[in-house]
């Protein structure tokens, strides 16, 4: 059974087209390569009720893992923990471990920048240690806002900061080993074949044929166009992306190679030009 994961990103900036959501892209790539099946991504505004609602909705689908990004910082608009607390019907409370983590980061900052005032626990700094009751803070190796980890029935929720380096550091340190363990032997493998000189509608029946012949391989075609992707040829340039989720012992790379070989022959026989990637 594959490990099902959902990603929830909190932040107006992701919805108004200010910030490109590289966090979801990064998590999607890492988690998939570690064997997780990323089922859904939702981006919501910095509104407590919106966050609470999406947490409840996602829990109802019972993924094994939920990762949220954003909204853990010291400013008024950082509302993810309040949203999670509301969803779980738990109080927000100052967690002693989380407070110790924030204090340590402030002390380091104070010393590094020679800003002695930074050791003072203002309401804004204390806010970062206010987490839902009965949840665990997760050490942030880079920034001052800790993440949190909370198990709800069979689902484990991680709330990570939105600052990419901080999110990545916590993911790598805490979540990566967990996904490896939960996903077990089921891994994800991929290969690409580029096709020129034929439209996608002519490629489609060839893909159907190869998918019927090489069991387990999923084949998806992507049309690239000159403006947003740097391809200058005056014709459709299609990337055919072949993937498989299986165990090493099922020889996934051999299956992908077989599918690419068969598809290349078919493309060639139908007037197209196949070029395998490396």
């Amino acid at each position: 059974m594959t490990l099902e994961l959902e990603i929830i990103c909190v932040g107006n900036e992701l919805l108004i087209g200010k910030t490109l959501n590289t966090n979801a892209h990064w998590i999607g790539k890492q988690a998939t390569n570690l064997g997780a099946n990323v089922k859904r991504l939702t981006v919501v505004q910095d509104i407590v009720d919106e966050i609470a609602t999406i947490i409840c909705e996602t829990l109802e689908r019972k993924p094994q893992l939920i990762i949220t990004t954003g909204g853990l910082g010291p400013t008024f608009d950082d509302k993810t923990l309040e949203g999670i607390a509301k969803a779980l019907n738990r109080k927000l409370e100052i967690n002693p471990k989380a407070l110790a983590m924030v204090k340590q980061k402030c002390a380091e900052y104070a010393q590094k920048r020679n800003m002695p005032d930074m050791v003072e626990m203002t309401p804004q700094r204390t806010k970062m240690a206010k987490i839902p009751e009965k949840t665990d803070p997760v050490q942030n190796p880079i920034g001052s806002a800790p993440g949190i980890k909370v198990k709800v029935k069979d689902t484990l929720i991680f709330a990570l900061p939105g600052v990419p380096t901080e999110m990545e550091a916590i993911f790598t340190q805490t979540i990566e080993p967990l996904i490896k363990q939960l996903a077990g032997d089921n891994l994800f493998f991929e290969k690409s074949l580029f096709v020129d000189g034929m439209p996608e509608s002519n490629l489609a029946p060839l893909i159907d044929k190869v998918m019927a012949d090489v069991q387990g391989v999923y084949i998806k075609s992507h049309v690239y166009v000159p403006t947003r992707n740097v391809i200058t040829k005056n014709r459709p340039h299609i990337e055919v992306h072949l993937t498989i989720r299986t165990q090493q012992k099922e020889k996934p790379m051999e299956k992908l190679a077989c599918a690419i070989k068969q598809l290349s022959s078919l493309v060639d026989a139908n007037g197209g030009t196949p070029s395998p990637s490396d």
Copy 2:
């Protein structure tokens, strides 16, 4: 009342970290600048039931507008129209207008590339004209797959292709005028102030003060870090993003300028360095 919009992107490639979701970013930016309130973005896999489910869930929230991207093409994995049909409990049927659009694009392609076979309506090409009954096809000025438009109670659903140039062309031609009309005078205005030399937790109470003083202005801070963003200074570099949704007659730019001036003074008085953008 603001025009509420939800975006749904369909495509495994967006969840496995293969393709960065620039479509959602682009639509979010355009729609926001035209006056829409982008409430939520959801990305789902190429699975009919997943698509049908997210369409039903989104309709329950009653946004005035839903825009989907991806899944309209000729290959087996293009399942958005099947998902919408299932959600609305309507049959998929060959729409004569849609079929004429596909035929015309194929004829153009056949002539341009000297590929006479392209005029033949294979099942894969006909598939692009199979849309839910009682819906309208929307002309795709660039590619062969038409979009669709369907009204469900008070919600208008547009399904657009995933190829960025095609999605952008249909948006600009068909959706932009509609958002302008529906959003009316309520527009979105933004300004940025950059802050150096102070941590976000010290900036937080200053933001609270300015937001209390300058009514209607929403202020959000974003911490940039050297690795993913090209900033080489060895200290936090914060972008303070000030936004307001209102009518021109409420003098939004004056309000933003006033907030920036007040915040700059406060930052300066608290040991930080403010630098307004342009």
